[in-house]
């Protein structure tokens, strides 16, 4: 009985794993085929794998520019939002000022606001600031969208820090920035990495804002570029799949090595 149950479980999980991975496999196997091979047999193995589609993507598409833009938008907005959220969370947990609890609570509500609701006013603002087609336009928006969760995350983490640690530093006469830097930050490393990863995934994967704010080819992010070129290259499935595969590669590689951080960050606080 136990044996049968084990086999049934393994079988179910294998089927589920195949369903989970198939779209990725389809992407990769198609990317390795020539157009003719794909038309003849879309689902077959790439028996004569070719790197031609990947070289074509790099040669014909500004895919390196898009990757650089994605990287810059991700890095800048994640770093800024993390730094200023750490400061704010520090103030919320260890400071004594009116309104900090209100700020914390409103952040919780802001986490659930649909970004599309902010899109029109932000667009108008960026138009008048002449920031359309410039990376700072999305960086500002993303930074704002990342802050609520970041504050929430750090406040919860800081509240776990033993008070004695902080108080001892204050008694020694350390100024606030010193307490933050030499008491709080050294023990926040792993948590910060977790948060950085969660936020980086969001920015790297974001489409709607990038699509609207970045309309010139040289300023597009990878996702916006991919979505725009979809229509133009729709009849060249292998080429499109090669580009799509390149866009999922960085996250997948990071995931394979730092899976713990992904799981912990994305489920932060939900279980425990």
């Amino acid at each position: 009985m136990q044996h049968v149950r084990n086999i049934a479980r393994q079988l179910t999980l294998i089927i589920l794993s195949v369903i989970s991975l198939y779209p990725v496999w389809f992407m990769l196997s198609t990317a390795l085929k020539t157009s003719q091979n794909y038309t003849l047999n879309p689902t077959g193995l790439p028996l004569h794998p070719t790197m031609g589609n990947f070289t074509a993507v790099f040669a014909d598409w500004p895919v390196l520019t898009w990757m650089r833009n994605s990287l810059v938008a991700t890095a800048v907005s994640v770093v800024i939002s993390t730094v200023i959220s750490i400061m704010a969370a520090f103030a919320i947990v260890f400071g004594r000022a009116k309104g900090r609890e209100t700020l914390f609570r409103s952040n919780i509500a802001l986490m659930a606001i649909p970004p599309v609701a902010l899109l029109v006013p932000m667009y108008m603002l960026m138009v008048s600031a002449h920031l359309i087609n410039q990376l700072p336009s999305v960086i500002i928006f993303y930074t704002g969208l990342l802050i609520p969760f970041s504050i929430f995350f750090f406040v919860n983490f800081f509240r776990e820090i033993p008070e004695e640690l902080v108080e001892a530093a204050y008694i020694d006469g350390a100024p606030h920035h010193r307490v933050l830097r030499s008491v709080i930050l050294p023990i926040s490393g792993a948590s910060t990495v977790t948060l950085v990863i969660v936020n980086a995934i969001f920015v790297w994967n974001e489409l709607l804002v990038a699509l609207v704010f970045l309309q010139s080819n040289s300023s597009r992010t990878l996702m916006a570029g991919l979505a725009l070129y979809q229509g133009r290259y729709v009849t060249n499935e292998p080429l499109l799949m090669a580009a799509a595969f390149l866009s999922i590669l960085p996250l997948t590689v990071l995931y394979v090595f730092g899976q713990r951080f992904f799981v912990r960050g994305l489920t932060a606080g939900m279980g425990k």
Partner: protein, 461 residues
């Protein structure tokens, strides 16, 4: 489970390493960002003229983009102070991208748009600078079909090529279905009979795609036209002049009923609704569909796949009885114009006229088979019999491409989805017409300025 975890110590040190790696990566990316942002802004200040060109044409004429890229390379070599960035567009982005760009007055220096209203309506709103401001009259006198983009004495855009939209058929598949391979359908009854015969032999009669709405839009362009006596009937109806709109809507219903009949009879590939027009077209060169409506450029490209002797072309079978039913469908299709916010208009116009030099026009025809929109191109150069047949169709009498005469928003929001209602079988012809009506009203309400400009244009000239 527990034994799977590394020891606490190893975990701790791995945390440290990963923390360090991630911090280094972040700093590096930040550094890259700081290094990149200034260079991006400096480029425009360095005295180099950068022309941003949003280009479309590949779905009309396969090979067009490659031709354009080669022209750019040549031009940049001869004019080292100019760089041209080509951004390929698709059917689905050509209108929306420019609409979006014109709101922020940023984006392309040169844009490609379909002729007439998709070009002229932005022009009326001040988003397009007439190319005739920058190009001499003698040069423009060689361009063909400039009337498609003229208001008063201003020409707003430059044509590159002319295309017609014929019906193309696969002679081999016609033989299989017991049809005469050398005669294409001329009347609607013949067309339906051919479809029925093909279907009976298990062959998909018509291969098209409507995921992007363009099969429906083409049926509008070809067959709604055949009911009308003049283009005014359409534009006045859109402008809601008198009782013209009701009449227009009634004629649309007739056209959609016909389209619905084709779908219900199974004469169009069953997955028409999940393939884009470009994808649906691929059924023809793959010999999976016996007929298609397509452009000259595609006919010539497909002839290479199925063999030129197996391809027949004719004008779309006549269905309607309006005065326009006898016209053909040649148009410059897309045109090239200067965005009013561009700071490089003169340089951009210079590059555009460079495309019209005889050498480049001849190359365009040689490399893609397209017919250049320039009378300096020696038409006797066309020797290929299929190309000759197409050229003959294109130059025989008057031509109208009706889709060019509706405002782009109506095209995207009414024309395209209304056709999808029919091809997906989810809406009746009445529902399609109701959609048109609702979208016409919405446009009038939501874009009052555009509507007024359009009405003036539709009734004034």
């Amino acid at each position: 489970m527990k034994s799977n975890y590394p020891s606490m110590r190893a975990r701790w040190s791995r945390n440290r390493i990963i923390t360090k790696v991630v911090s280094v990566l972040c700093v590096a990316a930040m550094g890259l960002g700081v290094a990149v942002i200034p260079t991006a802004t400096q480029a425009s200040a360095s005295g180099k003229t950068n022309i941003n060109y949003w280009f479309w044409g590949e779905s009309d004429i396969p090979g067009m983009t490659k031709w354009m890229q080669q022209r750019i390379t040549t031009y940049e070599k001869a004019n080292p102070s100019v760089t041209i960035t080509l951004v390929p567009q698709s059917n689905t982005t050509i209108i929306s991208s420019f609409q979006l760009a014109s709101q922020s007055k940023t984006g392309p220096d040169v844009d490609t748009q379909w002729a007439t209203l998709p070009t002229l309506l932005p022009a009326l709103q001040g988003e397009v600078t007439p190319i005739s401001n920058y190009v001499s009259k003698s040069e423009m006198s060689h361009w063909l079909n400039t009337n498609e983009n003229t208001i008063g004495n201003k020409v707003y855009a430059m044509p590159l090529y002319l295309i017609g939209v014929p019906l193309v058929w696969n002679k081999k598949l016609f033989v299989k279905a017991g049809l005469n391979p050398n005669v294409g359908p001329k009347t609607w009854a013949q067309f339906l009979a051919d479809c029925a015969a093909l279907k009976k032999h298990g062959i998909t009669p018509l291969g098209m795609g409507n995921q992007d709405g363009y099969f429906g839009a083409w049926m509008f362009a070809i067959y709604e036209k055949q009911i009308l006596n003049s283009i005014n009937q359409l534009t006045q109806g859109v402008a809601n002049v008198g009782s013209s709109q009701a009449k227009l809507l009634a004629s649309l219903k007739t056209m959609y009923t016909m389209l619905s009949g084709l779908i219900k009879s199974g004469y169009v590939n069953s997955n028409v609704e999940s393939l884009s027009l470009n994808q649906g077209w691929q059924l023809f060169p793959q010999s999976k569909a016996a007929m298609s409506f397509t452009t000259d450029g595609n006919v010539l490209a497909w002839a290479k796949a199925v063999g030129e002797k197996n391809v027949g072309v004719t004008r779309p079978p006549v269905w309607g009885t309006g005065k326009l039913a006898s016209t053909y469908d040649t148009t410059q299709s897309s045109d090239e114009f200067l965005a009013s916010w561009s700071t490089n208009k003169a340089a951009a116009a210079k590059f555009l006229t460079f495309l019209h030099t005889t050498a480049n026009m001849v190359a365009l025809n040689k490399e893609t088979g397209a017919f250049p929109a320039d009378n300096r191109f020696p038409a006797k150069d066309i020797t290929d019999p299929l190309a000759k047949a197409l050229d003959k169709l294109d130059t025989s009498g008057t031509s109208v491409w009706l889709e060019n005469d509706i405002p782009p928003q109506i095209d995207s929001n009414a024309d395209l989805p209304a056709g999808q209602l029919i091809t997906s079988g989810s809406g009746s012809p009445a529902a399609a017409v109701a959609l048109w009506k609702q979208q016409l009203q919405k446009w009038q309400l939501q874009q009052p300025t555009q509507f007024t400009l359009f009405k003036k244009w539709a009734t004034g000239s």
